[in-house]
């Protein structure tokens, strides 16, 4: 992975920088010792590592502003970090950067059920946002698989999704306001408890900007009342094509499930071996979940089962209670863990139009054979967000490179059929160099101009999202 050459001038200022930061942060909030900065050398894309020059852990918005002001004055690049769970290398440091971690900012600032909002510091984990309101019957809808660990700051940076966004949307659809610090240290308040922030949709462009426009320190999030209940049905098919057609028919029928998850045979087998969820041994498996009262759930599942039966399923299992529902979800939720047990893997995140699902799965199979690496598929089928897992052995020479090459081909395929490179993980460093497959140079230039406005010196997370060649001139100013 190519990263910009560390700036010698910046590196030479380390001592002065530490001294200046000591004026605004507690001593234990500045991490400058090499042994300790190593804790920040990578995120969940562990193939790439580089310890930062420094890491800082501010506790307030004001401290974040002071830190950024100091770094801005000294032209020090800053890489914001939530919980470090990015699968795309969004929080990967450069050797001359300051990692700005929001982990110590995890308070709930306000819960307001009358307006159905919660205001939190963004270091708070996704799951603990729901945790703060669930006893009162509410939840925060976006539910990325990493929700136990991932921070709201990173969710906003990557516009995270999850299994249930078919009904509830992704982060951008559930974010009502932010307090954000710009690279020059100025603090901007956008939106709040009202549903539409005024003026240009700044929240929309900040969400998913991968920490390149500002550091979001506080967020107002929409919370929803929990449904009366939810139950899934598990349906097995003897081909991916048939499962794909069934997904399309369910969506066309007028039922809007909260989740439609898809697993193919390699994934089913790995999950079964790992979690023993009792999955049938078949080519493709769908988990379709609906919500409502017991009677409403029955009615919807009956309709879904009727549709599925037209496609001659080889297995069909309706969860009758919470325990059975838990077992159906168990395998799916442990999919990544299961894969990790048998192999190194790379998890892709391209999205495709649902109608192209059978074709894309077939072509992924062909590519997999061509590259000699197995690919397991587990993904959110309702919205076309694929998660092909490429299995490889990092200890075998050349396999990582082959895996990356296969990954690039699969993502190009997603773009070719009308989809995109990443549905919810973000571009980070991982997919940076593929951006010109999806956008023209001019399309990218329009995006770079947005960063010019928010961060004219290009100091915030500068080596991400766009090909380095495209941003070189701006980064060297």
């Amino acid at each position: 992975m190519e990263m910009p050459t560390p700036d010698a001038t910046v590196l030479s200022q380390k001592a002065q920088l530490v001294a200046e930061l000591s004026g605004v942060l507690a001593a234990d909030a500045i991490i400058s010792d090499l042994a300790e900065t190593r804790a920040y050398e990578c995120d969940a894309l562990t193939a790439y590592r580089c310890p930062p020059m420094l890491a800082v852990l501010p506790e307030t918005t004001q401290q974040v502003a002071e830190v950024l002001k100091i770094c801005h004055a000294r032209n020090v690049p800053v890489v914001p970090r939530g919980a470090g769970t990015s699968l795309a290398g969004g929080a990967l440091p450069t050797a001359d950067c300051v990692i700005l971690g929001v982990a110590r900012m995890n308070d709930v600032l306000e819960t307001d059920y009358d307006n159905r909002i919660i205001r939190v510091q963004t270091g708070r984990t996704n799951l603990s946002v729901t945790g703060a309101v669930e006893d009162d019957g509410f939840f925060y809808a976006p539910d990325p698989s990493s929700q136990l660990a991932c921070a709201i700051a990173g969710n906003i940076a990557m516009n995270s999704g999850g299994a249930h966004c078919l009904k509830y949307g992704v982060t951008t659809n559930n974010l009502l306001g932010v307090t954000m610090v710009l690279m020059d240290g100025s603090i901007v308040e956008i939106g709040g408890a009202h549903l539409d922030a005024g003026g240009l949709d700044m929240l929309g462009v900040i969400c998913g900007s991968e920490g390149q426009l500002g550091v979001v320190t506080e967020a107002t999030l929409r919370i929803l009342h929990k449904p009366e209940g939810a139950r899934p049905v598990l349906i097995g098919f003897d081909s991916n094509e048939v499962a794909g057609a069934c997904v399309s028919d369910i969506i066309k029928s007028g039922i809007l499930p909260v989740a439609i998850e898809f697993m193919d045979r390699p994934c089913i087998r790995a999950c079964e071996a790992f979690a023993k969820a009792g999955y049938p041994d078949c080519e493709a498996l769908l988990i379709v979940e609906v919500e409502g009262s017991p009677a409403e759930i029955d009615a919807q599942l009956t309709k879904i089962i009727k549709i599925a039966e037209r496609h001659s399923p080889v297995a069909l299992r309706e969860a009758k209670d919470a325990d059975q529902a838990g077992r159906i979800w168990l395998g799916r939720k442990s999919a990544f863990g299961a894969m990790g047990q048998i192999n190194d893997y790379m998890c892709l995140d391209g999205t495709i139009p649902v109608s192209t699902l059978p074709e894309v799965l077939r072509r992924i199979g062909e590519l997999s054979r061509e590259f000699g690496l197995d690919v397991a598929n587990v993904f959110h089928a309702g919205d076309g967000n694929m998660h092909p897992l490429i299995l490889f052995d990092a200890n075998q020479d050349g396999q990582l490179e082959a895996c990356e090459a296969l990954g690039a081909e699969i993502l190009k395929l997603c773009v070719e059929v009308g989809g995109c490179l990443t549905g919810e993980h973000g571009v980070g460093v991982e997919k940076r160099d593929l951006m010109l497959h999806q956008y023209t140079a001019e399309d990218l230039e329009a995006q770079l101009r947005v960063k010019d406005v928010f961060d004219p010196k290009w100091l915030l997370n500068p080596a991400k999202v766009f090909p380095l060649s495209v941003t070189a001139a701006r980064r060297s100013i």
């Binding site: 019957g137 603090i187 009677a295 649902v354 967000n385 001019e442 399309d443 995006q447």
Partner: protein
């Protein structure tokens, strides 16, 4: 009026413009900026529709009615319920899909399904430099690069002129039920809204029509889905709200919701029309403080006000946050800024974005600030 028939022509018009351009779709919103009039209405036609993927792609000038009728044939709809402003604004013309997104026009279902911007998946547009650009795509989840799609939604053409939009559509529910409470005061209406929204019953509309012509106010709650489910949830909500007199339970009360969406009660009245996005719980004090008539939507979060045109609503809001838009000034004149001025760091960012996307300042100049 210039009416380009394809994207290339539109790009040429903008590239060669020598002065300000007044951009519109169907020109139904009564927005009149000084400049050469350019309309996208001849950039028309649905170019792709995949009911099984819940997505449609259409050129910006495609009439909203055409989009809606094609969707209806497959039992689908635009869930964000874009408004028809013609009655309220006294305009002619044909509402377009591009106009609906450029103005982020979102009706009563905003509280459950989201705003227009939440359904917009991809855009093609021509920026103020005359460059044809695209962002997003036609899939529901997409975090590839910055989200300029949202930025274009609600930018009223000031950052670029939409030439094509792709968007998510949803199944039209089999049944729509409405509970109607008559004669509640705003405090009571808010209690109905809050209790309904804070229930597991998936409310898709919570609005209040004001008293008019001797008829009492109407507080409305909408529930949609399969018929048995709608009936069940209506009963559940009625009993949850039994402190109030029993509401009327109506099936398919589309006219009532259209009246809310299009602000019909104010359409034949003289006066200024304001649209305020506020914290829902502030609604009762807002309507008490602002002298005029008020129609409430979004469970209290959106208030349409009919006011004396010499009054600046923003001066009266006091500590109530949010923002107010002057949608219709009396006699066509714009006494106050249409959009609420923003505080400094935010205004500077907005100004910076405008300068990047429209360096000559020719796209609906001055409209948003």
């Amino acid at each position: 009026m210039i009416t380009p028939t394809d994207e290339t022509e539109l790009a040429a018009v903008i590239d060669q413009a020598e002065g300000p351009l007044s951009i519109s779709g169907g020109a139904t919103r009564g927005i009149d900026v000084v400049g050469t009039k350019v309309s996208t209405r001849k950039l028309s036609g649905v170019t792709l529709y995949e009911p099984g993927a819940l997505t449609m792609v259409a050129r910006a000038g495609t009439p909203l009615e055409e989009v809606q009728s094609i969707l209806a044939q497959e039992g689908q709809q635009l869930a964000f319920e874009p408004a028809d402003y013609r009655g309220l604004m006294g305009t002619q013309g044909v509402s377009t899909i591009g106009g609906a997104f450029a103005s982020n026009s979102s009706g009563p279902r905003r509280v459950q399904a989201g705003a227009a911007r939440d359904f917009l998946l991809g855009v093609r547009f021509v920026d103020g430099r005359g460059a044809v650009l695209k962002n997003g795509g036609r899939v529901m989840k997409n975090v590839t690069g910055y989200d300029l799609v949202k930025l274009m939604a609600g930018a009223y053409g000031t950052l670029g002129v939409l030439s094509e939009v792709s968007f998510k559509v949803l199944p039209k529910p089999e049944c729509s039920g409405t509970l109607v409470w008559e004669g509640l005061d705003p405090v009571q209406s808010l209690r109905v809204f809050t209790a309904s929204m804070n229930s597991p019953f998936d409310v898709t509309g919570a609005a209040r029509l004001p008293e008019q012509e001797g008829l009492p106010s109407k507080t409305l709650i909408r529930l949609e889905g399969f018929e048995s489910s709608v009936q069940y949830r209506m009963r559940q909500l009625e009993s949850k709200l039994d402190v109030f007199a029993q509401p009327h339970a109506l099936i398919d009360a589309d006219a009532l919701w259209q009246a809310v969406r299009d602000v019909e009660p104010f359409k034949r009245h003289v006066g200024a029309i304001w649209r305020s996005s506020i914290k829902p719980s502030d609604m009762p004090s807002f309507v008490e403080r602002i002298p005029g008539e008020h129609l409430v939507d979004w469970a209290g979060g959106l208030v349409w006000s009919l006011l004396d045109p010499s009054v600046d609503l923003r001066d009266l809001r006091g500590e109530i946050g949010g923002h107010s838009t002057l949608v219709r000034a009396a006699h066509g004149g714009q006494a106050f800024a249409r959009f609420e001025p923003q505080p400094s760091p935010l205004a500077i960012l907005a100004q910076g974005l405008r300068a990047e996307f429209d360096p000559r300042g020719i796209l609906n100049p001055g409209l948003m600030g």
